[in-house]
Subunit: 378 residues, 2 copies
């Protein structure tokens, strides 16, 4: 199988990640729940991983790195815990349902009012709208770092400047970029960064989290056992415990820790260069074919994603044939990005997404190009 | 190290569990997010595991098995999604903070009123109170299956009958019993069963869930990507998707699946017999020593937990010495069970918990007895 669905989850993990999970499953107790070596070793790995994440994303405090089971949970925590009645929130047409649905819920409950920065037919956000949509009660801009559908990135430095100039928060969904693209919370003026472990970070499923800038207050989402302050009726107020109830996935976090070491060793820029090269090679190979529509903007910074359709064929059928006849794994359909499909005009057809990882090869890309060419001809 | 902190997390996992996680990390895509073999294999493992969990706990529908990252999350989902303004809830003094804090929060928000079934100095619940506390607006009894502090179980068949007779829901925290004690939602009349994977089920950390009886409606807690109905503004209404947003921890669930096979192969009754034998052996060894106070009721069904103090020594000091001088891992302090400590009169001292697993041996128990005897003498 040629696996080109890395924007859903990176199938291949570095061997050191798997080894770390195995070691953890053979030795780790419950983090922060005792003073014996197995509990302490879990606590240590968890703390070290907070430090590594803080360093990777430019978060000033390791204790403001909160672990969750994926970025959806991180986004639910952030969006559920930041806003109060009467707040106004700005988001974009590029968002995934993990941003949209929490915001729609808050809007329906009458807590927030919501405006969207529109995207054009190439999936590009209208940057001027970030500023013109701001009202006196705007509390935050919530936006993705990159569309999971087109791969197009949002210029966070630009959006961050707007947020800072108007004294509003910037909450970022980095699901598509964490590990794959350099992120600096300081430089980009990000207040809350939500990430997942199992995509660009090449860590196990069941890992993720959020990084919170000093001074940003997020109310608890889940509450429960914390291993400290057991006699308080409320969740302890200090981060990260405030947002982490119950036993952490230390086995997965040990894998994340190893993945972060691997990323540092190889270098995110090196990984990004290779992934960009693969994406570009594929784009050049398919975009010149007749009958192919490629979506998104290829003149601006992007992740290693190419999304296309062949004629007016349903994307699910194309994706099935690619897998059944060519052994190429892609992802068709809506990709949980309804407003992006509306902007692209692909609500009915969906689109076939090819997404590349560090472990893909040029030969795999060329095979995928040949497969698309054959399908476009037939 | 002699690991006797299995009520916090079972340190030793069956080898087949580790192997299954490794296989999953080498082959699994994102469950329900595509139609290629790696995504389908993840979907299949997840669905098979739902079936196995449903069978284990007597849940009539596999699609009413919802996966979470631990039982705290399961309890937050259940308690956060069941009640409406004006509901009355009955719970017990035996509860862990994973039950108490979600309920305290609902009480503080003015949504529910709350009453506690008291526990006596042996940690036994007053069964008559389950019935006398019921009011016309009582919506549910929320109770643990076994105290994480004393190991004493609650007779769920008895409580379940009371709940059924009065037409109220029974929500059970099975963190201490799932995998270690037979549970039958039908026979026990349980409406919602919350469990964790990393304790008695001997699965990886980052796994757990809830089983929901047909007809019980729980509102979504987290919302986001679901892989289906992407154009709906709200989370899809069908279980399990209603309560599962974002990418599942399929790697961990693969381990849980293998753990369930292992449990079935060995037999829960066999495991329970051995664990009970170890617990009983330890209890008999330490309870006759001078200066030892053992907590809880040993004349009633219980898990493999023995909790004690030595004289009036702080439990944290005893636990430290046990580890430093004897290499025995236990857990001291409050164990996130504040009301249970109040009932036992151990709020200041805490208590040292010894908890046994399938992988412990009689020799280890005897060493632990010798260590406690030496400490009691000195």
């Amino acid at each position: 199988m040629i696996y080109l669905d890395n924007a859903a989850t990176t199938l291949q993990k570095p061997q050191c990640v798997i080894d770390a999970v195995v070691r953890a499953m053979n030795s780790m107790g419950n983090a922060s729940r005792g003073a014996h070596s197995s509990s302490l070793s879990a606590s240590r790995v968890v703390y070290d991983t907070r430090c590594k994440i803080a360093k990777l994303f430019g978060c000033s405090r390791a204790d403001h790195v909160v672990f969750t089971c994926n970025s959806t949970e991180a986004l639910n925590i952030a969006l559920g815990g930041l806003f109060v009645s009467g707040d106004h929130v700005i988001t974009t047409d590029l968002e995934h349902n993990s941003v949209l649905r929490p915001l729609y819920r808050l809007e329906k409950e009458g807590i927030i009012s919501l405006n969207f920065v529109p995207a054009d037919v190439k999936g590009r956000p209208d940057y001027s709208a970030f500023e013109t949509l701001i009202r006196r009660n705007t509390k935050a801009i919530v936006c993705t770092h990159a569309s999971n559908l087109t791969g197009n990135m949002i210029d966070l430095e630009r959006v961050g400047r707007i947020a800072r100039d108007h004294g509003i928060l910037l909450v970022v969904d980095a699901s598509q970029t964490a590990g794959a693209v350099p992120i600096d919370m300081e430089r980009m003026n990000i207040d809350v960064l939500c990430f997942t472990g199992h995509k660009g970070l090449m860590a196990p499923q069941g890992t993720g989290g959020l990084c919170i800038r000093e001074g940003v207050e997020i109310r608890p989402f889940k509450v429960g056992g914390s291993g400290v302050h057991s006699y308080d009726k409320e969740q302890p107020s200090a981060y990260p415990t405030r947002l982490e109830a119950g036993t952490l996935n230390s086995h997965g976090i040990a894998g994340l820790s190893a993945a972060l070491d691997y990323l540092n060793e190889v270098g995110i820029e090196t990984i990004r260069s290779k992934e960009t090269m693969l994406m570009q090679r594929f784009y050049e190979g398919v975009s010149r074919l007749d009958g192919i529509t490629v979506y998104g903007d290829f003149d601006f910074e992007r992740t290693a994603v190419v999304t296309l359709n062949i004629g007016d064929e349903d994307s699910a059928i194309i994706s099935d044939v690619l897998y059944e006849d060519y052994g190429i794994a892609t992802r068709p359909g809506a990709h949980c990005a309804p407003r992006m499909h509306e902007a692209l005009g692909t609500t009915e057809q969906g689109a076939v997404r090819f997404s590349f990882s560090w472990f893909n090869t040029e030969e795999e890309v060329d095979e995928a190009i040949r497969a698309v060419a054959e399908l476009a001809e037939s």
